[in-house]
Amino acid sequence: MKKYLKSAAGISILAALVLAQSCKKSFLDVTAKGTVASAQFWKTEADATSAVDAMYANLHEWTNIAFAPIAVESMGSDDVEKGSTPTDASFMNDFHFFTANSGEGQISDFWSGEYKTINFANQILDNVPGINMDGALKSRYLAEAKFIRAYAYFRLVRAFGDVPLRLHVPKTAAEYNIPRSPKAQVWAAIETDLNDAASVLPQSYSAADVGHVTKGAALALHAKAALYQKKWGDVITYTNTVMGLGYTLFPNYEQLFRTTNKNNSESIFEIQCMLIPNNPGASNSQYSQVQGVRGVTGGGWGFNVPSADLAAAYEAGDPRRDATIIFRGETTPEGDAIPADGDNPMYNQKSYVPFSLYVSGFNEGCQQNKIVLRYADVLLMNAEANNESGNAAAALASLELVRARARGGNNAILPKITTTDQAALRAAIYNERRVELAMEFDRYFDVIRQGRGAEVFGSRGWKANKNEVWPIPQNEIDLSAGTLTQNTGY
């Protein structure tokens, strides 16, 4: 017995060592479960489709659609106040009263949110060209990525001015830390992307693909980019093209924003959101929730509420006032009674989702699409550019289309504007733009590009030569070790 044991011991030691040694390499070659290594990605058409889906999905994530855009793109405007209870998220007031400094969390959230969008687009633009797939679909995907990238840079350049311009996925440490590009270069990159996108994208999609960006969206965003640069001729050219694409104003202004009328005839580009049954995690849009009516089930947090100044900006009898503002104590057209003793006198009706659609466990109003570009905006850009170019008649025609829809057949209100005096017409267009597009995240930057920042926001502390742009996030400057510079005045 003993001797066998001895031999057995020797053999087992040898066996153990030999066995282990011989399968050493393969033994260690394991990957984590539930992951796909990048080496297996960017191979098929399905990969390209997944990456395009991911790019769109990112648009309704928190930093792209909720607090950060409210702070950076809305709070400075005279259309809104902070909302909620007075001391809740009081940092929002730093944006309303222009005391926000470079350390504000919402500034860095907005910055990182937009650059995440750019990264998703750059991933597609760098990697999809090498995939062997349907040529037409490949071109379309690349065009969609260019539109999304242009949209993100548009939001960055109007919020910060000069920003780092990344047109490829950074590969080395040296590429991580790059300086700001002059805003003219950023605008040029936006226009190049939009030209490329418009030349490829289709005018519309089959029912299953509704929500992907279209030629109209690229042209409309290009018109807006030109508007911010006061390239009036370009604005007229691009808006005229969009006006020939078949968009029509949705007859009922209030209904335009309801979940039952998503992607309607007026819609040019919307961020698509839905309540995915049994999947509250994936139904992640908080766009409606953060602005919803406080203190009621199915409402929300009540931030970014309409101001008294906005309520007073409407002409007498303008139905858009009631369609834009939920007043405390009213009953909405959908039948929701708003408590009379709520925390805030007014709430945003454009993000409102009827309380009956609320499902416990989900974000309130997660089914609300966010409209980014709509036909009325295009008409008003056309009106503004024509007036600035001295074409009063064309300006009046576009303006009247918007007012006629608002009138809703009631000729007792909103009289047709007929002045051809450029300054008077400019004022009329400015106000029309304000009330038509109120609470749609353009007002603050419209006023600034119109050169009226100090005039309109000055009483709240807005100062020329500083507040045209927000500060660059301090964390970002810290990390760049001096490569990034701060905006003047911060």
């Binding site: 050493k24 260690l28 769109y56 990112n58 909620s84 650059y115 990344r166 509704v210 995915i276 499902v359």
Partner: protein, 1011 residues
């Protein structure tokens, strides 16, 4: 066959033998036993004094040696006093060895073996099982607090949670700083499954020469734990039990309702809001004491019973434990059943097989972890219930976000149970052959299942706490790990030369599986609907498994070690380990395997002949070591770009009607190459004993340098990865320090004995280089520091220092000019460090260091007649805490009494505390106001016991009966204004305290019974 084998073995080993046999030599036979227990001793070295002839006792304690009739035989054995026995013409000797009182004769457990402390060249500390189980902790690691120099233990406070353990300072940033735990040869990251009563010994390996044998897992230190095994003899039954309670202590007092309403009104005033929220603060009186409402004295019961014994060939130990512990929060409860079985069977003389199995089953009734923050912030103006019995609704008081929950409703409608089942242990076979060789193979496994079930009923408590549908959520995690180890040991004493050799290999596999189910409209059934499966009536069904990254890691290693000693004076140890680990596989062909060498040397000065005549030192030993170890516990797949496909982030929507599509893409960046994170360390130690071994000391100096530290350096958010960081080999970190232990033991009379032991660890942590160069790494805080980064790590400074503005006072008037032109009265006035007239980020300075400089412990024990008393004290000093709770506010949360009493509330009221507007952006920016000393001193454990005299018990068949009373954390001294100065956290955010879990004291009464 046998002869050939033996001869070949002898030939193989002949170089080790010097045959000094002489003509008149005769064979001497005998047995060696323990003088105290009478047990035979196996493997005792027997040598002929003055020659190189030697042998060892066999499994029966028997030996045969050839010696001259007038020779003297020397018997030496681990843990026993060496004894010289003259042969005196006898042919049969019966030798009884007495256990040694000398410290250096004690046996220490090291990696893959045991050693006399005298032969050890590294820094190893042992803690006996009895000292651990004596304490009232449910986790053995908590019991080690203050016991071992250089070991810093931070208890998290939450029931069932494991403490954070750091040995000799933070040597990693991107990896885990948790030591490796080796329990009976099986490797673990956490030992919460072990019942403290089952532990026989914990050996803490601190320096690299001790841990290098564990290669890639050795960098953070290793704790080698052995569990209890049977001993030969009649079955012995042991029962240990106690009952007791936990009580919240050092609670932070909060403002009462009137004070709260006053403060919130001030907050409205400072923000220019009219009217204020509360028209008549005094009408609220003192209001609701939320801590009193939700916390309680929590009862604990613990029973543990064991049976051990065995025959000559088979020893066993079986134990069962039961713990029932209430949490400090009402409804919180934790029940644990443990079983531990070990058996060692000598099949035939040279072959022993055995196993160890630990099983655990636990169930906890959970609480919503957020309740502590709710309690901290809850408005005392809110009644728990209205007169009609409905819950007080914060919405009725317009107190807003951060404060819109009624904690009682949170408690009542949170319905969750966690169950854990774990089955772990190993089987081994050990074969002794050719006298000096021992081959051991051991296969260990660890299977764990954790399940969390949560049921939300249809309810309406308050505006913010309600649900219109019911739902049921089940998360299931399963871990399956295995380890296979083979070692071959060679042990030989030839005269003055003692040699031990070891070679071995290890293969390991770690996998985790995760499943998540969620269903809606699940009807309520008994037992909170937390049992059973998803009912068919549920309208929604299982969600797909979340494809998050679940680790699968494999390691493969080979190692060898030699220990050599000459005349018990000169010691030399050397080891090497080669490790392969899958997280590094494929990143670079050259770096698949890492090599971890070590050497150690020792000089036992007291054994030198020139020391013979001195009487000062009983023992004196100098030792030094060098070694290199690795840290595998770093983020896996570092250099492999992974595709992200998280449904809660990347679900796109298209179409009319709308349809969700799960997207996938890459949104991270990775370093091009990663190599091993290595720690290289040197250790020098001096050990000694004086005054008949009554006074002993041990002093160590160490210097540990972590190279290629795997480190996350934040990268600009404009890279597009969401403001994250890039992880790679990018830093070098130095931990330098010293440890001192002094122990005094004495027995002045037969009735009285005592010991006092003090230990001190001093550590300094410095980042000596980092890939980002002079560019500091800002981290920590973020959410809890209002979006700002509160720590900085830069070359030449410790890891993660607090960084921010220095407060010079409080503005008494609103500002319109000066360095802070937008500051309001009551805001912090910061120091303009760069004197440029503007306060901006360039004015930030270092505010404190979260890495403790001093850790100390004082452990005492006294025995007088039938009474025994032990008191353990422990503390840290030279450490700072960032009290983030003060400014971690969303709106109208409550304030602490301290803040309320000292707040600025009008010109001249305070120049140190700000106004109630403390949560505003300008005031919440990281600054010196929030940095406090984290030093504390506590009486960690005090126990008084009484052992009944033997005489009366014998008749009842009782061998031993002892009763005791125990108090843990009964006295805590600290100046920190938060709940608990023990603050852990992420490596770059350590010491940032947003914890609101109260510190608690535990009082127990128990009994130890041996039959």
């Amino acid at each position: 066959m046998k002869r050939i084998f033996t001869i070949s073995g002898l030939v193989l080993l002949c170089f080790l033998f010097i045959n000094a046999a002489a003509a008149q030599n005769t064979a001497v036979k005998g047995t060696v036993t323990d003088a105290a227990t009478g047990e035979t001793l196996i493997g005792v070295s027997v040598s002929v004094k003055g020659t190189t002839t030697g042998t060892q006792t066999d499994v029966n304690g028997a030996f045969t040696i050839t010696a001259a009739a007038n020779a003297t035989l020397t018997f030496s054995y681990l843990g026993y006093a060496t004894q010289d026995v003259p042969v005196n013409n006898q042919s049969v000797l019966t030798v009884k060895l007495a256990p040694s009182a000398k410290q250096l004769d004690q046996v220490v457990v090291i990696g893959y073996g045991t050693q006399r402390k005298a032969d050890n060249t590294g820094s190893v500390a042992s803690v006996k099982g009895a000292d651990i189980s004596k304490q009232a902790s449910q986790n053995a690691l908590s019991s080690l607090q203050g016991k071992v120099a250089g070991v810093n233990i931070i208890n998290s406070g939450a029931p069932g949670a494991s403490p954070q353990v750091t040995i000799r300072g933070l040597g990693t940033i991107g990896g885990s700083s948790t030591p490796l735990y080796v329990v009976d040869g099986v490797w673990y990251d956490d030992i919460s499954f072990l019942n403290t009563a089952d532990i026989d010994n914990v050996s803490v390996l601190k320096d690299a020469s001790s841990t290098a044998i564990y290669g890639i897992r050795g960098a953070n230190g290793v704790m080698v734990i052995t569990t209890k095994r049977g001993t030969k003899g009649k079955p012995v039954i042991n029962y240990n039990g106690y009952v007791g309670w936990q009580k919240a202590t050092n609670l932070v007092k909060m403002a009462n309702a009137t004070e709260y309403a006053t403060a919130i009104n001030e907050l409205y005033q400072y923000n220019g809001i009219t009217p204020v929220l509360f028209s008549d603060p005094a009408s609220f009186g003192t209001g609701t004491d939320w801590y009193g409402q939700i916390l309680r004295n929590a009862f604990t019961t613990n029973h543990e019973i064991s049976l051990s014994g065995g025959s000559k060939d088979n020893v066993y130990n079986v134990s069962f434990g039961y713990l029932d512990q209430d949490g400090l929060v009402k409804t919180n409860n934790y029940q644990r059943y443990t079983a531990h079985v070990s058996d060692d069977w000598t099949v035939i003389k040279p072959l022993k097989i055995g196993f160890t199995v630990s099983a655990l089953s636990s169930e906890s009734k959970d609480i919503n972890g957020g309740i502590f923050h709710e309690l901290y912030g809850a408005a005392p103006t809110l009644p728990v219930f209205y007169k009609d019995g409905a819950y007080g609704d914060p919405n009725d008081y317009h107190t807003g976000d951060g404060n819109n929950y009624n904690p009682q409703a949170t408690l009542d409608f949170f319905n969750q149970k966690s169950r854990n089942k774990r089955f772990t242990g190993n089987v081994y076979g050990e074969l002794t052959f050719l006298k000096n060789f021992k081959f051991k193979t051991s296969y260990g496994g660890d299977i764990g299942q954790a399940e969390v079930r949560n049921y939300t009923p249809v309810y309406h408590a308050t505006t913010a706490q309600q649900s219109t549908t019911s739902s049921f959520d089940v998360q299931h995690t399963e871990t399956r790990n295995w380890i296979w180890e083979n070692t071959l040991t060679y042990n030989k004493t030839i005269g003055d030369h003692k040699i031990t050799g070891l070679v071995g290999m290890t293969a390991q596999d770690y996998t985790t599986y995760y499943a998540h189910g969620f269903a809606k409209d699940v009807p309520y059934v008994a037992n909170g609907s937390l049992t059973g499966s998803f009912p068919a009536s549920a309208t929604g069904y299982l969600q797909p498994v979340t494809p998050s990254q679940q680790p699968h890691i494999r390691d493969l290693s080979y190692f060898g070690r030699i220990n050599y000693s000459y005349q018990d004076k000169y010691l030399l140890n050397a080891s090497i380990r080669q490790d392969g680990s899958s997280p590094y596989y494929g990143t670079n062909g050259k770096n698949v395997f890492g090599y971890f060498p070590s050497v150690g040397a020792g000089w036992v000065i007291s054994n030198e002949s020139f020391m013979k005549d001195q009487h000062l030192f009983d023992e004196l030993k100098l030792r030094g070591s060098w070694g290199k170890v690795g840290n595998r516990n770093v983020p896996i797949n570092l250099s492999n770009l992974v595709v992200t496909s998280d449904p809660s982030y990347l679900t796109a929507v298209f179409g009319n009607p709308q349809v969700p599509y799960l997207g996938a893409s890459i949104n991270t960046v990775v370093p091009p190459l990663t190599v091993w994170e290595n720690a290289e360390s040197v250790d020098a130690g001096l050990e000694g004993a004086f005054l008949n071994n009554r006074l002993s000391f041990e002093a160590d100096y160490y210097n540990r340098v972590t190279e290629n530290a795997i480190f996350a350096i934040p990268i600009p958010a404009s890279v597009g990865t969401g403001g994250s960081s890039i992880v790679g080999n990018q830093a070098k970190i130095k931990n330098r320090g010293a440890e001192f232990i002094v122990t005094w033991k004495d027995k002045p009379s037969t009735n009285f004995s005592y010991s006092v032991s003090a230990n001190l660890g001093i550590n300094t942590n410095t980042v000596t280089s980092v890939e980002s160069g002079k560019n500091p790494i800002y981290s920590g805080g973020n959410g809890i520091a209002n979006g700002a980064l509160a720590t900085r790590t830069v070359v030449g400074e410790p890891i993660g220092e607090f960084y921010g503005y220095k407060v010079q006072g409080i503005f008494q008037q609103n500002q319109t000019t000066g360095a802070q032109p937008t500051a309001k009265a009551g805001d912090f006035q910061y120091v303009d460090e760069d004197k440029n007239g503007v306060i901006d980020s360039r004015d930030r300075v270092v505010l404190g260091n979260p890495n403790p400089k001093y850790n100390y412990g004082i452990n005492t024990s006294f025995t007088y007649k039938q009474f025994d008393l032990s008191v353990d004290m422990q503390g840290v000093a030279g450490v700072d805490i960032y009290n983030a709770n003060i400014a971690y506010r969303y709106g109208n949360e409550n304030f602490t009494q301290d803040f309320y009493d000292h707040r600025w509330h009008g010109a001249g009221t305070s120049n140190t505390y700000p106004s109630v507007n403390v949560g505003s952006n300008a005031n919440a920016a990281p600054n010196s106001f929030y940095v406090e000393s984290g030093a504390y001193f506590r009486v960690r454990n005090a126990q008084l016991g009484y052992t009944f005299p033997n005489s009366g018990l014998k008749r009842l068949g009782i061998q031993k009966l002892r009763i005791f009373a125990n108090a843990q954390n009964a006295l805590n001294l600290f100046g920190y204004k938060g709940f608990n100065p023990e603050v852990g956290g992420d490596i770059l955010g350590r010491g940032l305290d947003a914890n609101v879990y109260p510190l608690y004291a535990t009082y127990n009464f128990g009994v130890n019974l041996t039959l």
